[in-house]
């Protein structure tokens, strides 16, 4: 056990800090549409051009190939510098890209990885279907082989920013006769393919901005060469992608939430008085969260530590469940501290928006129910 960083690591930290301080975008991120897309791509390109993109990606595909400790350092500095979130670039950087790295063939890697890092292409996800929910195995979007192409018909839902994306990581059923979790393929899908139509889905936090779309595929044609990891292997390919969903990148979130709790303490003191808040019910919740945020950070350090020793795997679900729970409590408390002004939901980034968003957050990382099944069965060895 140690908290030591090597002299080289410390130098790396300083370089990262200096570069971030000088280059982090100061302008606010636009709230939607093409302007938002342009902002996210520009910030990604800025990092790429300076050699700071893809901390965990292999060097041969334009990444930095850093070890986990350096990744941790980068993300800590990233959060401390209040650098913009990667938002629209998230799926490419954290799902699609890592999946290609793990399971793609050389041509697929050469074609698709660099544009993600360089801020040229936005990726989105095409996993969930209208009647499948968390049960990916139940997906029904069909892909029929026709010569050297797949012909895709069906629908995907809850695709974040689908209308602003260039590429999609798409799960389709290529063998309808195989059992549920077999016969699925993972496909690189170009969002400009004829036969694709998008329909926006409104969400509760922002009635005026599209976040999710539903995708309808009507005999959309994709080259067979876009199948990743082999035909009918999609389930295992998707599972490796899901594993990436929360990697070291989430250390950023940790630190941001910790910052937020500190801000909340300040705001509560300003609003209710310092002496008062100490003994108050809000104070009690703030104090507990201050302790829990420390623990959540320590859990992330533990995930990194385990990965260094090549152990862990399903143990990371413990951290995910805990972090989901703590973050939801942070957001609810932020809402409560505002008092009656929580009746307002300003357009700019705000605690009310933040609270409402937390309901989507819990869902995004796999519902907490499923997370707890995984802990029960894979970590504790309880029977199914």
């Amino acid at each position: 056990m140690n908290l030591d960083f090597t002299a080289e690591d410390k130098i790396f930290r300083e370089e990262a800090r200096d570069w971030l301080q000088a280059n982090v975008f100061k302008e606010r991120r636009p709230h939607g549409g093409e302007a938002m897309r342009a902002y996210d791509l520009a910030w990604q390109k800025c990092q790429y051009d300076a050699g700071w993109a893809g901390v965990s990606w292999p060097k041969e595909y334009g990444g930095m190939g850093l070890d986990l400790t350096r990744q941790l350092i980068w993300y800590e500095e990233y959060a401390r510098a209040h650098a913009p979130d990667n938002h629209l670039c998230f799926v490419g950087l954290n799902h699609g890209g890592p999946t290609l790295i793990a399971r793609g063939d050389e041509a697929q890697k050469r074609t698709h990885l660099r544009p993600i890092l360089a801020g040229e292409k936005i990726w989105c996800q095409g996993f969930s279907e209208p009647n499948a929910g968390s049960d990916l195995g139940a997906l029904r979007t069909r892909a029929v082989i026709d010569g050297d192409e797949l012909v895709i018909t069906g629908s995907k839902i809850w695709t974040s920013h689908g209308h602003l994306s260039d590429m999609q990581e798409l799960l389709v059923r290529t063998d309808p006769d195989a059992p549920k979790h077999k016969g699925i393929s993972w496909v690189i899908f170009d969002m400009k393919t004829p036969g694709l139509e998008l329909r926006p889905i409104e969400i509760m936090t922002a009635p005026n901005h599209t976040h999710f779309v539903q995708c309808f595929y009507d005999e959309a044609r994709v080259p067979l060469a876009n199948v990743v990891g082999g035909l009918n292997n999609g389930w295992s390919v998707a599972m490796s992608t899901l594993g990436f969903e929360r990697g070291t990148a989430q250390i950023k979130d940790q630190i941001r939430y910790a910052f937020l709790v500190e801000q909340m303490i300040e705001r509560a003191r300003a609003r209710y008085g310092s002496e008062y808040i100490t003994h108050d019910e809000l104070g009690s919740r703030l104090a507990q969260l201050r302790a829990d945020m420390a623990a959540a950070r320590a859990m992330t350090y533990m995930v990194v530590s385990r990965a260094q020793h090549d152990i862990g795997g399903s143990l990371a679900s413990l951290m995910r469940a805990m972090v989901g729970d703590v973050q939801q409590r942070v957001r609810r408390l932020a809402f409560d501290i505002i008092g009656a002004d929580a009746l307002e939901n300003p357009e700019d980034d705000d605690w009310v928006y933040f609270y409402l968003r937390s309901y989507a957050q819990t869902i995004a990382a796999g519902t907490s129910q499923i997370q707890r099944n995984i802990i029960g069965e894979r970590v504790l060895g309880l029977p199914r």
Binding site: A138, L356, A360
Partner: protein, 340 residues
């Protein structure tokens, strides 16, 4: 002693239920668009059916029924997510009636005028909004504004407020403004000693929150029965089943307390204030918890505007923050003597 509605009361409930099912299906909020709601169109119809003066004495121009009938009807208003402007009209008519402005009273009872609601923004301590700062709900097209506090209840003109500024409402189907109270006193004022409208407001808001919690519960249970995952309805999984069971348990508690509080009020018993506050505490917490649980049961679907689940959550927070949040009501309930 009987907490169940009588036959007459059941008939009233059936009437309002079928009226709202026809005129105010929850889907109306989606169809109407993101901002605002079409509920002002309901007021004249509710007036014609007598629902706006249900609990007002006959000699005051009302139907002459009790707080219990009002409670039952406001529960349905909550269930159907009727605009909280309904509080402005029903309680506003009571203010006018008790204050002796019969013309205004009768006009309000027809549902011809809208009455907004003023809610204080000021914190108990510290900087920020002060005692003159208010939020105005559903007041954009209203000439009158209802103000209720522990001392009494009053009606103000919209012009009694200055610096009115439209803001985005967390519950976007309700219009919301910031405003500063500029008048020294309301146009009409009913002191607590004349008629305890404050406790009635809390009691009815509790009933409304009961309805919100029940609406969320029923939506979740219906979904759990039809939505299949891993080959069976999700309601068959203990995790989902127990979430629904907890929702039902909480709703039952809130309904029973709302019923009891309305009876204590109707009988003019000394614990009226206590039970009204207790009802608001229990019901708004239930409404918030059930609304969140409903979203959870719906998974990702629960977060979209396509599902109506988010309306319950937002409205539950409005019910909580109106006329004093859980936090303030909890502080308040400790100030009462031990109830009988």
């Amino acid at each position: 002693m009987d907490l169940l509605p009588s036959d007459d009361q059941t008939q009233i409930v059936d009437t309002i239920k079928s009226f709202l099912a026809g005129e105010a299906p929850v889907d109306r909020l989606r169809e109407h668009g993101a901002i605002g709601n079409p509920d002002a169109a309901l007021w004249p119809k509710l007036g014609e059916l007598g629902f706006l003066g249900l609990g007002l004495a006959e000699e005051l121009g009302g139907i002459g029924l009790s707080a219990s009938e009002e409670m039952l009807v406001f529960r349905e208003f909550g269930y159907h997510l009727v605009s909280i402007g309904i509080f402005g009209i029903v309680l506003g008519a009571r203010v006018a009636a008790v204050a002796g402005d019969d013309a205004l009273r009768d006009e309000l009872l027809t549902g011809a005028r809208r009455v907004g609601i003023a809610n204080p923004r000021g914190a108990a301590a510290g900087p920020g909004p002060d005692a003159q700062d208010y939020h105005l709900f559903e007041a954009a097209d209203a000439s009158l504004v209802l103000l209720v506090d522990e001392q009494g209840a009053g009606l103000l003109a919209r012009e009694d407020f200055v610096d009115i500024e439209s803001v985005h409402s967390t519950d976007s189907v309700l219009t919301l403004e910031r405003a500063r109270l500029a008048a020294d006193k309301p146009r009409l004022w009913v002191a607590r000693s004349a008629d305890n409208i404050h406790s009635r407001a809390l009691m009815l808001l509790g009933a409304y929150a009961v309805g919100l919690g029940e609406g969320a519960r029923d939506m979740a249970v219906d979904y759990a029965k039809i939505r299949e995952q891993f080959g069976k309805p999700i309601g068959a999984f203990q995790a989902i089943k127990h979430i629904c069971a907890d929702m039902a348990m909480r709703s039952e508690a809130a309904l029973c307390q709302a019923s009891f509080a309305s009876l204590v009020m109707a009988d003019g018993l000394p614990d009226t204030d206590f039970h009204a506050v207790a009802s608001k505490i229990v019901a708004t917490e239930v409404a918030m918890k059930n609304a969140a649980a409903n979203i959870q049961v719906h998974g990702a679907f629960g977060f979209t505007s396509e599902a109506n689940a988010h309306h319950y959550l937002k409205r539950a927070h409005v019910a909580d923050l109106l006329w004093g949040s859980l936090r303030e009501q909890r502080e308040r309930i400790l100030t009462f003597p031990t109830p009988a």
